[in-house]
């Protein structure tokens, strides 16, 4: 059933599928480490996909499209930041509102481009390395977004733990009151963190509409933003665990299709449900193992100086 040749192809598919999730959840992880729960990820992703596609199609440049997508995600995140950080409104509601707005705007922006297509983002081809059995395509045959996600992962992992910026960010997330007392501009830091999250979500959207399925379709994110949120919790807010989680989720999503191809007759709904069930199991396991630890202590709490 599963021989070496297929294994290589499957691994490559899993990496590609996981990249969208990895990009979006990396951004959310940073936002949450700073103490903001941003439920607007889905909206930022889809608007990145729409704006990215529209720009790339109109300009002919994938790079320009990607940059536009990042900008779009960042701009939408400012709506959330304005509400949740500066006006100290309820973060859950603010995030939801941002998502709904993003979905609507994306639909309107993308509407003129329906039915058109782009050439997919080019993939890497190295002479010997890309043809290695099993790992060749997975590691050396991917598109730029995949490699960017790994670079981003390294930057976030290193930055959070080893730089002063990361330390301050985490301090704000753990105790915004103490950080404020120490003189740190809590709201500014959170805003920047949220903007980073929006930029990553926009980039994730661009991956969808420029590389994965290079055309625009309404609601093409299909709930990936929510999965990204789950992955952040699953990862216990640690970037390397996020990598594992994203790839795990991608693997389950891809493998269920392969299992169907084997003709075993397992109900496809059960297979489709597996990624979600797996996430619940993982969430419970993480919570049970790390009871009380993990979440930044100030996550979700609005901050108003001198309140």
């Amino acid at each position: 059933m599963l021989d070496v040749a297929i294994l290589g192809a499957v691994l490559a598919s899993v990496v590609a599928a996981a990249t969208t999730l990895l990009l979006a959840s990396l951004g959310e992880l940073v936002a949450e480490r700073a103490g903001t729960l941003n439920l607007g990820v889905e909206g930022m992703m889809i608007i990145g996909a729409a704006v990215g596609y529209a720009t790339a199609y109109s300009s002919g440049s994938l790079l320009l499209g990607t940059l536009a997508a990042i900008l779009a995600g960042t701009l939408l995140s400012l709506v959330f930041a304005g509400l949740a950080i500066w006006l100290a409104a309820n973060q859950v509601a603010s995030g939801l509102a941002t998502t709904i707005l993003g979905l609507g705007l994306a639909g309107l922006i993308g509407a003129p481009f329906v039915g058109t297509r782009l050439d997919a983002a080019p993939t890497l081809h190295l002479p010997v390395l890309s043809d290695l059995p099993v790992i060749g395509r997975m590691m050396f045959g991917q598109d730029a977004f995949v490699y960017a996600s790994l670079v981003l992962l390294a930057v976030v992992a290193y930055g959070l733990v080893r730089t002063r910026t990361g330390l301050v960010l985490r301090a704000v997330g753990e105790s915004h009151v103490a950080a404020h007392a120490l003189g740190h501009p809590v709201r500014k830091i959170r805003t920047l963190a949220v903007m980073f999250g929006g930029a990553c979500a926009g980039l994730a959207g661009a991956h969808l509409s420029l590389a994965y399925t290079p055309f625009w379709a309404s609601d093409m994110t299909a709930g990936r933003g929510w999965i990204a949120l789950a992955l952040v919790v699953f990862s216990a807010w640690k970037p390397m665990w996020l990598l594992a989680g994203a790839y795990l989720f991608g693997a389950v999503s891809i493998l269920q299709l392969h299992v169907q191809g084997f003709g075993l007759g397992i109900p496809s709904q059960l297979l489709s449900a597996l990624p979600y069930l797996a996430t619940i199991v993982a969430l419970v396991a993480i919570s049970a193992l790390k009871r009380g630890q993990g979440a930044p202590a100030s996550l979700g709490l609005p901050f108003v100086p001198d309140r």
């Binding site: 509400l83 309820n90 509601a93 707005l101 993003g102 609507g104 639909g107 919790v233 059960l270 100086p305």
Partner: protein, 358 residues
């Protein structure tokens, strides 16, 4: 930035009413800009969206039909949200309730069952929804897992479960193998209130829920414990209100109302069970709860406003070729504006002299 949010000593009642209205006006302005950008006449668009549906008795009934599930789910959610338990999975609880109630309808189909069927279906629906909601509640109490994410994941599981049932065991044998159940018998259908129109008895249940919830939340110890659990959890613990009991309680209520909404919708406007029984009611109800400021009467008003935007949106699609996304932009903008207006009413933005950091 030398600005500061200062809590106002007392919020004038006028301010509380003004906030949603200001938000509405703001949304209308944004909407007008959007319409003009899309090349439509804003006055005509607003008329079709907001005014015309109110002038026709049939569309008014449709508004009630559309608002009913939002109302029921929204009230349930306000129980949860007041206690700071963020139930995002109402959509899944709605489906679970619909499935539970439909089971009875299918089990008694064709038999000469009496009028007990429908009430029993409704009870089953509430129980089914409550049980589905108790899963994330349990996971939170026992393991500390985020109820936001567990309840959300369970939405997909519930939908896939319904899909499996309707495409498999519950399929109508005379239905050419298409994924829908038999049409429910008359005893299993929600009675209509008027002869012509689709308004059904569900709205009466909804109104009862509004009254009951207002009493419970405002005047009983339970309601007080919920409120306290949300705003001052430590104080609640000191007062002897067990955190786990509050969690189980609010999730059970929320799930029950969502499940009730589900079976009412299936036994009412739909009349059979099929794969798609909700255009996202569980999520739109979150907006209704928020817009209604977590007060049952507020949720009632908000549900109708939202129903109006949906119906107006369809009318606009028909008369003006306006895309559905416009409705979404409306709803998102309205929610944002309400959130902002709410804060601005309760707090004042003050300029602060001297160096102050953000």
């Amino acid at each position: 930035m030398p600005l500061r949010l200062e809590r106002q000593e007392s919020v004038p009642a006028l301010g509380l009413i003004a906030a949603p209205l200001v938000a509405l006006v703001f949304t209308l302005i944004v909407g007008a800009i959007m319409f003009v950008a899309l090349g439509h006449d804003p006055i005509r668009a607003f008329t079709i969206y907001f005014i015309e549906p109110l002038t026709d008795p049939w569309t008014l009934q449709e508004m009630v039909v559309k608002a009913c599930p939002l109302l029921l789910i929204g009230i349930g959610l306000s129980f949860c949200y007041r206690a700071n338990r963020w139930n995002i999975g109402a959509e899944g609880q709605y489906v679970a309730g619909a499935v539970a109630g439909s089971w009875l309808a299918l089990a008694t189909h064709g038999t000469d069952a009496g009028p007990w069927v429908l009430p029993a279906m409704l009870v089953l629906g509430a129980v089914g929804g409550a049980l589905w909601a108790l899963i994330p509640a349990f996971l939170r109490v026992r393991f500390g897992s985020s109820e936001i994410l567990t309840s959300l994941m369970l939405v997909y599981v519930a939908q896939l479960g319904l899909d499996y049932l309707v495409r498999g065991p519950w399929r109508d044998p005379a239905g050419f193998n298409f994924p829908q159940s038999v049409t429910f018998d008359d005893v299993a259908i929600m009675p209509l209130i008027f002869e012509d129109g689709r308004m059904h008895a569900g709205i009466i249940i909804g109104l009862v829920a509004v009254i009951a919830a207002t009493i419970v939340l405002g005047r009983t110890l339970i309601g007080y414990s919920i409120e306290l659990a949300g705003t001052a959890p430590r104080a609640a613990a000191f007062a002897g209100f067990k955190e786990s009991r509050v969690t189980y309680g609010v999730f059970a209520v929320s799930g029950a109302l969502a499940g009730l909404a589900g079976i009412i919708e299936v036994a009412g406007p739909i009349g059979q069970i099929q794969p798609s029984i909700s255009p996202g009611y569980g999520f739109t109800a979150i907006i209704a709860a928020m817009l209604g400021r977590l007060h049952p009467v507020g949720v009632l008003i908000a549900s109708f406003v939202l129903a109006l935007t949906y119906i107006g949106g369809e009318a606009a699609q028909i008369s003006m070729r306006m895309p559905f996304d416009v409705t979404r932009v409306f709803q998102g903008t309205l929610l944002i504006a309400i959130l902002a207006a709410d804060v601005l009413v309760r707090y004042r933005i003050r300029r602060v002299e001297g160096a102050s950091h953000a």
